[in-house]
């Protein structure tokens, strides 16, 4: 008897532990709405969104859930293959119903179109005024869908109302970003090349081995979560950094600045160069040893705690650069490396490549309500929720009608949202679809500025403190992208509407195996003890990749992306 009790107790203990570990944020703020707008007359429905981009699986809760619920009496149930695994794709497609709304990468979209999982929306889409504003782009993208005779199936993600061959942002997606105060402390030496960058980082690390709280800090903190995502092969951190030399990795091929391709295994090209750069960093003791096993969640925490001295994604600074830090000079900002030319994508006028579609199995009533929802989703009102947050909580309107950010730590500190907006934490209640029909860089007709705070004149003014002022004084221009333009260091790739071929079973297998080999070998190479070992590992890897049909994969990828390159050439 005692044994049984002991067993029961121990089980209760474990269950108790599990319950304590799980987030207690399932405060369904959305369901307590008072019912404004059109919801009174309509019964509540749940829309399933199959979403390639989502990092969250389950029902949308919190303040954004409340907005949608109050407006449409709709609950959003997000199905995220990134969270629950790719198996959900095969299972749901086998059941002939992927979702009421689907957000898919182009290859998958074409396949699903082929098997009749996507609804033809040609007859109705132009009855909706917000979506109609992007008619040109939507039509252009649909024309490229294989076997399509003028019907509309897809709505591109993140379209803009600017132009396909400009870049409206002040920064580019990836460039070397350093802590301005630490860089100044070293006397802001000119950085000639990657070795120079390593020297600067080494000095930073020597002067500040820990952050202010005493935790160890490193120039490089790496994570593996996104390796091989989006059809890329190789380590995401390395793949991104190749754009510093004007190269763009397209699957197994590297697109060089002169619009020719070279294999990712080319020793003279970017992947090798950046990998070697990271390895040199490791040999100098600059790489966080936890990089081997830690994941994105841990890294995000380290970035916010100031335990990382080099950033390379433009959005990464969001973890650190508050108004206060921008003003006291301790923010991250672009510092040019003289021998680099930066590759950047132009505004995603025709969209980012991912596509929205409506499932072919939805009934007429639901179909209407989905279109209504999508039309709203592309409206300025919805875009303000998506890109700027809650009015009077994360931003406010100034006297001139333009916006200004407040409560900037709402996301990183998951601030509690007042009950009137839906309660729960701000981050918990953010739009978990994590994908937009219209990009933040588009102009908001209500203010004449972009949708996100980075484009607001008031915000720029407020953050033009020490960091920006000193930076501008040193480089003689207002923004990083201006410096690149002025010095001819910007390689802008225009946005085009093309449809890329999806993988065959063979190429998918080659890609999978090559990717795993390349990723595993790359991680090992970053932590190689010396150059000889590094090169030996590289040669072994290349040999192994060849036996996994790397050459065939390369041929496939070059063919696949030549279409895109030709279209880009035509724009220029």
């Amino acid at each position: 008897m005692k044994k049984v009790i002991a067993l029961l107790l121990s089980m209760a203990l474990v269950i108790g532990c599990l319950a304590a570990c799980s987030k207690s944020d399932d405060n369904k703020g959305g369901s307590t709405g008072t019912g404004t707008g059109t919801s009174d007359t309509k019964e509540e429905i749940t829309i399933e969104i199959y979403d390639d981009a989502a990092n969250f699986n389950g029902e949308q809760v919190g303040w954004f859930g409340k907005v949608v619920k109050d407006k449409f009496n709709i609950k959003l149930n997000i199905i995220a293959p990134q969270v629950v695994g790719q198996d959900v794709y095969s299972a749901r497609t086998a059941a002939q119903n992927l979702g009421d709304i689907v957000i898919l990468d182009p290859g998958e979209f074409n396949d699903c179109l082929d098997t009749g999982l996507i609804k033809d929306i040609s007859a109705d889409i132009w009855n909706y005024k917000n979506l109609s504003q992007y008619k040109g782009q939507i039509e252009a993208v649909n024309k490229t869908l294989p076997g399509n005779n003028g019907q509309i199936y897809a709505i591109p993600c993140e379209m803009t109302n600017t132009a396909p061959n400009v870049r409206s942002e002040d920064t580019i997606y990836s460039s070397p970003l350093l802590r301005w105060d630490l860089y100044q402390e070293l006397g802001a030496p000119e950085i000639k090349d990657l070795d120079g960058l390593l020297d600067v980082l080494k000095q930073m690390k020597d002067k500040h081995p820990t952050n202010d709280a005493g935790d160890p800090a490193y120039p490089f903190v790496l994570w593996k979560d996104w390796d091989g995502n989006d059809g890329m092969i190789g380590i995401a951190n390395v793949v991104q950094l190749t754009t510093w030399y004007g190269e763009k990795i397209k699957g197994s091929a590297i697109l060089k600045p002169d619009n020719t391709f070279t294999p990712i295994t080319d020793k003279t090209a970017g992947y090798y160069k950046i990998l070697k750069f990271l390895n040199k960093g490791y040999q100098m003791g600059l790489v966080d040893p936890e990089s081997k096993t830690e994941d994105w969640g841990v890294v995000w925490g380290k970035m916010g705690a100031g335990r990382m001295y080099l950033m390379w994604y433009s959005w990464q600074v969001g973890a650190w650069n508050t108004q206060e830090r921008l003003n006291d000079g301790s923010a991250f900002i672009f510092v040019p490396v003289q021998d680099q030319t930066y590759y950047a994508d132009a505004d995603a006028y025709y969209g980012s490549g991912r596509l929205w579609g409506i499932g072919s199995k939805v009934d007429d009533a639901k179909y209407k309500r989905i279109l209504e929802f999508l039309d709203w989703y592309a409206s300025p009102e919805a875009l303000e929720y998506q890109h700027a947050g809650i009015k009077d909580f994360t931003y406010k309107a100034e006297a001139d009608g333009k916006y200004m950010a407040i409560n900037e730590n709402a996301n990183i500190d998951n601030l509690a949202v007042p009950a009137e907006y839906g309660g729960a934490g701000y981050q918990d209640g953010e739009n978990k679809i994590n994908q937009w029909i219209v990009g933040a860089v588009s102009t908001n007709p209500n203010t004449g500025e972009g949708y996100a705070k980075g484009y607001w004149s008031h915000y720029k003014e407020a953050t033009s403190g020490k960091t920006k002022q000193e930076w501008s004084a040193k480089y003689g221009v207002a923004e990083p992208i201006d410096w690149m333009r002025k010095n001819g260091k910007l390689l802008l790739s225009p946005n085009v509407a093309v449809s890329l071929a999806s993988d065959t079973t063979d190429s998918a297998l080659w890609r999978n195996q090559c990717n795993q080999e390349l990723c595993d070998a790359s991680w090992q190479m970053i932590f190689a003890e010396n150059d000889a070992q590094f090169d030996q590992m590289w040669d072994e890897m290349v040999k192994k990749l060849d036996s996994y049909h790397f050459q065939d994969l390369y041929k496939f990828d070059v063919e696949k992306h030549t279409v895109e390159v030709n279209a880009k050439k035509a724009v220029k």
């Binding site: 079973t505 999978n512 790359s522």
Partner: protein
């Protein structure tokens, strides 16, 4: 004549009764037949995927039949053969190690039984049983907070030893098999011991008393009474484990795998899973068929050995 007819009547009646009894008795095993059919035989239908060029979202009828393409693919490519041999080696090694140490829970149970202080005994038993109920994902997060570079162990060593260089225990590729066995044992030993404790409880107390009166020491009692009494249980459990030799569970290795230890940690099931992740359905099905073939071979070999040694097989 009349007697004969009566006899025939009795015969047919008893035959009928037997038939009906047979039918009812069949109903007893029906649930188990169904269970086996649904969970063991029906999945075999999935083997059909190995002969198609399958990729979602297309239905099987929409993709080409490719015959033995994926089986050829397995052996044609030198690297793939190496890979398969490597994962089979890992599977055999890790299952082999657990087999080799399968006496551990038994010894643990025996010693546990010798503890005379009951509260302490119960405490040990509860503490060792508890990990069995923790999922591997949580086990890994425990391992991460204890063994990572900034984890408890390294922080402790760092505070005691001057100039200590932290070791990343989790990503090292050294003695992966042994370390994985340690985790497995930590998680399972207490649970596995329950069976032996039950067996020990079943030993006739008179035997122990008689031995004690004859002046046997504790170790002698263990050696001559306890162990021989629970050996049959041990052999049954070993047999059961042998059946799972190739399916040593992928969850554990899935959570512990990383770029550095993958060459040693990737077992057959994990390899199949990793391959399948990006549309490798057909090939991974083909490889799991290979697994079945190896399993059947193993079964045959064990059966032969059993026949040679004990004079009877189990099939």
């Amino acid at each position: 004549m009349g007697k004969q007819k009566k006899e025939i009547n009795i015969l047919t009646a008893s035959a009928k009764r037997r038939k009906r009894k047979g039918k009812i008795e069949f109903l007893y095993i029906l649930p188990f037949v169904l269970l086996v059919a649904v969970f063991s035989y029906y999945p075999l239908y999935g083997w059909i995927y190995a002969f198609y060029d399958y990729r979602p979202p297309f239905a099987l009828s929409e993709v080409p039949f490719v015959g033995l393409k994926w089986f050829k693919n397995m052996v044609e490519n030198e690297e793939r053969v190496k890979d398969i041999l490597r994962v089979i080696r890992n599977t055999f090694a890790m299952s082999g190690i657990s087999m080799l140490f399968s006496w551990f829970p038994m010894i643990f149970a025996v010693f546990l039984n010798e503890i005379k202080c009951r509260p302490f005994k119960k405490f040990v038993q509860t503490v060792t049983t508890l990990p069995n109920f923790i999922s591997w994902v949580l086990v890994f997060s425990i391992a991460f907070s204890v063994l990572s570079v900034n984890g408890a162990v390294n922080s402790f060593l760092g505070s005691v030893i001057d100039n200590y260089e932290p070791t990343d225990f989790l990503s090292s590729s050294e003695s992966v098999w042994f370390k994985q066995w340690l985790w497995l044992t930590w998680k399972n030993a207490g649970w596995a011991a329950i069976m032996y404790i039950a067996a020990i409880t079943g030993i006739d107390e008179e035997l122990n008393e008689a031995a004690r009166i004859d002046g046997a020491s504790r170790m002698q009692i263990i050696r001559h009474i306890t162990l021989p009494s629970i050996l049959p249980t041990y052999f049954v459990l070993v047999m059961l484990n042998l059946a799972n030799f190739l399916s040593n569970g992928m969850e554990q290795y899935y959570v512990f795998q990383n770029a550095f230890n993958r060459p040693y940690i990737e077992v057959l099931d994990l390899y199949v899973y990793n391959l399948k992740k990006l549309n490798g359905y057909s090939l991974s099905t083909a490889i799991s068929i290979l697994k079945t073939v190896i399993s059947i071979t193993l079964l045959g070999v064990t059966n032969k050995i059993s026949k040679l040694i004990r004079g009877e097989g189990f099939i």
